[in-house]
Symmetry: C2
Subunit: 255 residues, 2 copies
């Protein structure tokens, strides 16, 4: 079967945030991630475009009704794929609606990403959140869209499990009064020796180039730092590395 020109246009339009928002759909690609999608949220699958061999040989494909499954040629898949080397299957899925539970925000650790621009960094941060069992990742409106195809693939499935919510830090702090808000800043307290209030609150992660924005910095209740070695001449850590270290410090302490 070939994908109609209209369908092709629809699928490739989802590369742009504008159309993802319009249709509330996004793209998941490749055998491993699509199978994860099928296992975790089959009800979110709008359509599967796959090689005949994949459809025939993949048990998990039976989790969606056959009228959502379309067999395509390698050339057809290549035309709609965002990957340099398309991997057997592409799914169109619904963007989930996330309801934020204030009790969960209060009693667990969340991340607030302040202007993260690089899709690879965001994907890596979502993997960290997934690894450490973080429920909510809040994203400032100027972050790269988590449903951007590059983020989806870099997250290696984490996007399907972690709850991404676009929010401004002002609104979050209003909705959750008294929430501890941690942020790494130059002159902050050494996070390795600081008294941390258990594993709840929100960690603000600054952007790659500029760190935490002046707007977000006003909301910090705890100013922390990952100190460099005494003789280090490095001037910054990558945002995802800082996230990994902070999550380890916060969450490993209470184990």
């Amino acid at each position: 079967m070939t994908i109609s020109k209209n369908k092709e246009k629809f699928i490739t339009s989802l590369r742009l945030k504008k159309f993802r928002q319009k249709y509330n759909n996004f793209i998941v690609e490749g055998d491993k991630m699509v199978r994860e999608l099928l296992v975790q949220s089959p009800e979110k699958v709008v359509a599967l475009y796959a090689l005949e061999s994949w459809l025939a040989g993949t048990e998990d494909a039976r989790r969606v009704s056959s009228d959502k499954c379309f067999s395509v040629s390698p050339a057809g898949l290549k035309r709609v794929s965002n990957l340099n080397t398309p991997n057997q299957v592409l799914a169109v899925a619904e963007i989930p609606e996330v309801e934020v539970d204030p009790q969960q925000v209060k009693h667990t650790l969340s991340l607030f990403l302040d202007g993260i621009q690089d899709p690879g960094n965001l994907g890596t941060i979502l993997r960290i959140a997934d690894w450490f069992g973080i429920h909510y990742v809040f994203l400032s409106p100027d972050c790269v869209d988590p449903y951007n195809p590059k983020v989806v693939q870099a997250s290696m499935g984490a996007l399907l499990r972690v709850h991404c919510v676009e929010a401004s830090i002002g609104t979050l702090c209003e909705q959750h009064p008294g929430l501890p808000v941690y942020g790494a800043v130059m002159e902050g307290e050494n996070v390795f020796t600081a008294e941390l209030k258990g594993a709840s609150g929100m960690i603000v992660i600054g952007s790659e180039g500029k760190g935490i924005s002046p707007e977000a910095e006003r909301y910090l209740s705890h100013r922390i730092a990952i100190p460099p070695a005494a003789h280090s001449r490095a001037d910054s850590l990558n945002a995802a590395i800082a996230t990994g270290i902070l999550c380890a410090v916060f969450l490993a302490r209470v184990r």
Copy 2:
């Protein structure tokens, strides 16, 4: 001035490891990193190719003799640059020879990278090493070359400070008998609660896809793990993130 065809060929040949090894030269690009090179190791600079405005306006350019400075046009720079958007200056530099001091290996923490393939990951790992003041980063022969232009740029200058040494783990362990060798493996001991022998020894970092190789695993004296959250369904952490967390755990403990 224009760069001669021969010079152009020489500079672009340094994109390949074969020619970097042949000439023992590598490329550093962009205002910030070239200035770092000029401040830290002016004697390693073989030649500077820069826009006239950069040469005239950059005090640090005076650190090398004028017969090594070549003014080039934006088009000329673009022809030899490895960047999508060339940034004013490109330097050809000597690859430093690193002498490994056994006492330093014995008394400080080193990294051994076991088949790291992604230039971005290696650059990020070098930034982490730089941040935490790690002296030696050993690389297995199947790692991406640290003098690969993509690694150089991703390291944001860390490559100029951290000492990279290609080595096999077998030889290292022979040369440094009794050295604690740590590695994160599935069934390892929780690194957050493990008794660690201070901040010395060598941490083995496995490759992105395959983790620690069977060959390297035989040399581990301490099998550790970064445990995921109890309910996590993530199946791996990025190699650079694991490096950041392990360095923080090892080096923050002894502060």
